[in-house]
């Protein structure tokens, strides 16, 4: 008979002990801050680079072939913003971002020089990034010479060659072809309308950018739960190994049964794990709210169903894996050995994460259907299926996997507690597995 007052006491102690761990505090509060700082740094660097890109770079053109027909300075407009992002920004009322900081690509100005000597002087004076020399036979040979200053770094290596290519195209097409044909030569496919047909034949706009954006939240949610699951289970094994090393365990075992200790520890650390996920997810939602309009325009939806069921899946997966990890980990003679022994179960749980690429392509892949019913893989698999395509998973699959998980937890708790009882008191060389099993069977 399990005494819940003892379980509660152990759980509260473990919960508070975990909360006071430096590693936990750093992971819980530090990691999101680190991610934000890192994101901020990347954005900042990107912004500075973008600003520098907005300073137009001057290139010289010496056209002896006359193919370019360059009569005045030609400046490219900073390139084009990808269509998906342009649509999203316009729909969310942030069209202002299209100009300025988000202007895509490098701005360059091409200036015609009457002869090579003047272009060379300008380059040596540092006024030009480079100059391009088109010989008389350019149309025939397609050969061009480019000259750079002797400056360190790769500045101007790519130069404005892409823009230059368009410039040449414009020069060659100018007045030679029908305007429509010219336009198609310049841009064979100007606009694509992409649609998705559902089972009823209804079409909805298909946009790869939007599809990718929609994957972000479910995958992020699953990853967060998985990381927290593994961290909590890790703390569990580490804490118990430490108790064994500290010789506290025998005192505790003299007043609380192994089942009560095991259950209390599992609950205490599950609480800490859930708190961690709540903090992380709270921060994610907080950040999401700031960019809510943009995210909504991408069609990004929070996987509410997965989040609701995810709570049970997290707890179930954690209790199941934690019981086995703790039972096996208690057989180790020190923290390292305990972690090595318990890692056997971690390897099984990690399988769905290894197949995440497959599941993102096909959430209800036959492998996913099978793994839904295996207690080791069910939590992450069901969570992924629910997040990526809630409509594709039947209610009875979710309910069934939870039932399987529940029964497995009961068995794992029993087995874990028996191994725990034997393992906690082991010291020195570990006996043979047959002897461990014999002792465990005594209860």
């Amino acid at each position: 008979m399990t005494r819940f007052s003892k379980v509660r006491t152990v759980a509260a102690f473990e919960f508070l002990s975990t909360l006071k761990r430096m590693g936990y505090l750093v992971a819980t509060f530090g990691m999101p801050v680190f991610v934000l700082l890192y994101g901020g740094l990347i954005t900042g660097v990107g912004f500075v680079l973008q600003r520098s890109k907005n300073e137009p770079k001057l290139y010289g053109v010496v056209d002896r072939s006359g193919a370019l027909a360059l009569e005045r300075d030609l400046e490219n407009g900073g390139g084009e913003i990808p269509e998906g992002l342009r649509d999203a920004l316009e729909r969310s009322g942030r069209a202002d971002l299209l100009s300025g900081p988000l202007a895509w690509g490098e701005r360059s100005v091409f200036r015609a020089f009457p002869d090579e000597e003047s272009a060379r002087r300008a380059l040596l004076d540092g006024r030009l990034q480079a100059y391009y020399l088109f010989p008389e036979d350019f149309l025939h040979s397609g050969r061009m010479e480019e000259y750079f200053g002797d400056t360190p770094g790769l500045n101007g290596v790519s130069g404005g060659r892409d823009t230059l290519r368009r410039l040449i195209l414009e020069g060659l097409l100018s007045g030679r072809l029908d305007p429509e044909v010219s336009e198609r030569v310049r841009e064979p496919i100007a606009e694509v309308e992409s649609w998705t047909l559902d089972a009823d034949g209804r079409r909805t706009p298909r946009n790869v950018g939007t599809l990718i954006a929609r994957l972000v939240m479910p995958v992020a949610f699953t990853m967060l739960l998985f990381v927290s699951l593994m961290m909590s289970a890790g703390y569990l094994v580490q804490g118990t190994a430490l108790e064994k090393e500290n010789k506290v365990v025998e005192v505790i075992l003299s007043c609380v049964s192994p089942e009560e200790i095991l259950f209390g520890k599992l609950l205490g650390l599950a609480g800490a794990g859930l708190l961690q996920v709540a903090v992380w997810f709270g921060m994610m939602i907080g950040a999401g709210l700031v960019f809510a309009a943009t995210l909504a325009s991408f069609g990004v939806e929070l996987p509410w169903m997965a989040m609701g069921v995810g709570l049970f899946l997290f707890l179930g997966g954690y209790l199941f894996l934690g019981s086995l990890m703790l039972g096996m980990g208690s057989l180790g003679s020190n923290q390292r050995e305990s972690q090595q022994l318990s890692a056997i179960w971690t390897l099984l749980a990690v399988v769905p994460m290894m197949l995440i690429g497959v599941f993102v392509q096909e959430p209800h892949h036959p492998a996913a259907l099978v793994m839904t019913w295996i207690p080791f893989t069910a939590p992450i698999t069901v969570l992924l299926r629910l997040s990526l395509d809630p409509a594709g998973i039947a209610w009875w699959e979710v309910a069934g996997s939870l039932v399987v998980l529940g029964v497995s937890i009961r068995l794992a708790l029993g087995l874990g507690a028996r191994l725990f009882r034997v393992g906690l008191l082991l010291s020195g060389a570990r006996p043979r597995w047959r002897e461990i099993w014999r002792q465990a069977r005594l209860g």
Binding site: K247, V248, V251, L425, E435, Q439
Partner: protein, 300 residues
């Protein structure tokens, strides 16, 4: 009245090695029971079984007059030989946790924790982290944490190891206080002089078997030679039933008696001879000698 603890035919083995082979004994309320034995004799296994830390292969534990139940554990406390505390937690926090695990409320555990730290002379360490304590201080904290629930049965495994004479005296005093309060203590120690001073009864386990068991003086008598020590006002007269007399100093002799003779008859002969008897005592074997005799005898 039923004994506080009764152990019936306990057997336990690890692999091919038997740790306990049919041990039966009982411990009464209000006594200090010495559980003795050489290293690896099976004492710790016996203690762990009675606390349900491990399960026996066969046999039964009767506690407080009924078969073992988990609830009994709230009335028992245990100080294991290999002991420790949570090094990163504060002393009082750990004491409160241990008190809570044994059924005290948080308030009561806190109150008793502070009271017992005072009792062992270390009130100032309540807020210290355990890692700051010296070995001896940690030992006293552990004893305080064990006794603070005022258990009806307390098992102390080597409670004196690492203690200086002052603290050793303090722990002896605490054990005696428990006896006066009618609380039972099972004391496992290798310090035989303390067994003689503190214990009412002893049980000696060797190679998994209970080889000596009984009241301390009765056990000492059982394992002693029939010897008496006398201090007389004059010379030692001729005495029937004395096999050998050895002078130990002026007017003092050690007398080895014949198998059939009693100390009583020797005293009567001395008085009848008109000798002044200043001192007359039965020489009892020290527990340490009995321990060595039994263990070495078994080995031989």
């Amino acid at each position: 009245m039923a004994p506080l603890l009764e152990i019936r035919e306990l057997a336990k083995s690890y692999g091919d090695n038997p740790a306990l082979r049919g041990v039966s004994l009982s411990v009464e309320a209000g006594e200090v029971f010495g559980l003795l034995g050489p290293n690896g004799a099976g004492k710790t296994t016996l203690i762990r079984i009675l606390l349900d830390i491990i399960r026996p292969d066969s046999g039964q534990v009767i506690l407080f007059g009924e078969p073992f139940r988990r609830q009994h554990l709230d009335r028992i406390a245990y100080l294991p030989e290999e002991r420790g505390l949570y090094r990163k937690r504060k002393v009082l926090e750990v004491m409160i946790y241990f008190g809570r695990l044994r059924g005290l409320s948080r308030v009561e555990a806190r109150h008793r924790g502070l009271e017992w730290l005072e009792k062992v002379g270390m009130p100032e360490v309540a807020g210290w982290k355990v890692e700051r304590l010296s070995k001896g201080m940690g030992q006293k904290v552990q004893i305080a944490a064990t006794l603070m629930i005022d258990p009806e049965l307390c098992v102390l495994d080597e409670p004196f190891s690492g203690l200086d004479p002052v603290n050793l005296r303090l722990i002896r005093k605490l054990i005696r206080e428990r006896r006066r309060a009618g609380r039972c203590t099972i004391l496992s120690t290798h310090q035989m002089n303390l067994v003689e001073k503190l214990c009412d009864r002893v049980g000696l386990i060797h190679r998994g078997k209970l080889v000596v068991y009984g009241e301390v003086n009765e056990v000492r008598r059982r394992y002693s030679l029939p010897e008496v020590r006398v201090a007389l006002g004059g010379n030692l007269p001729e005495l029937d039933g004395v096999v050998r007399s050895t002078a130990e100093g002026p007017g003092r002799w050690r007398l080895l008696l014949d198998r059939g003779a009693s100390a009583q008859s020797i005293l009567q002969q001395l008085l009848a001879a008109g000798t002044t008897v200043d001192r007359f005592e039965r020489i009892l074997a020290p527990i340490e000698d009995i321990f060595v005799q039994v263990v070495e005898g078994a080995a031989a």
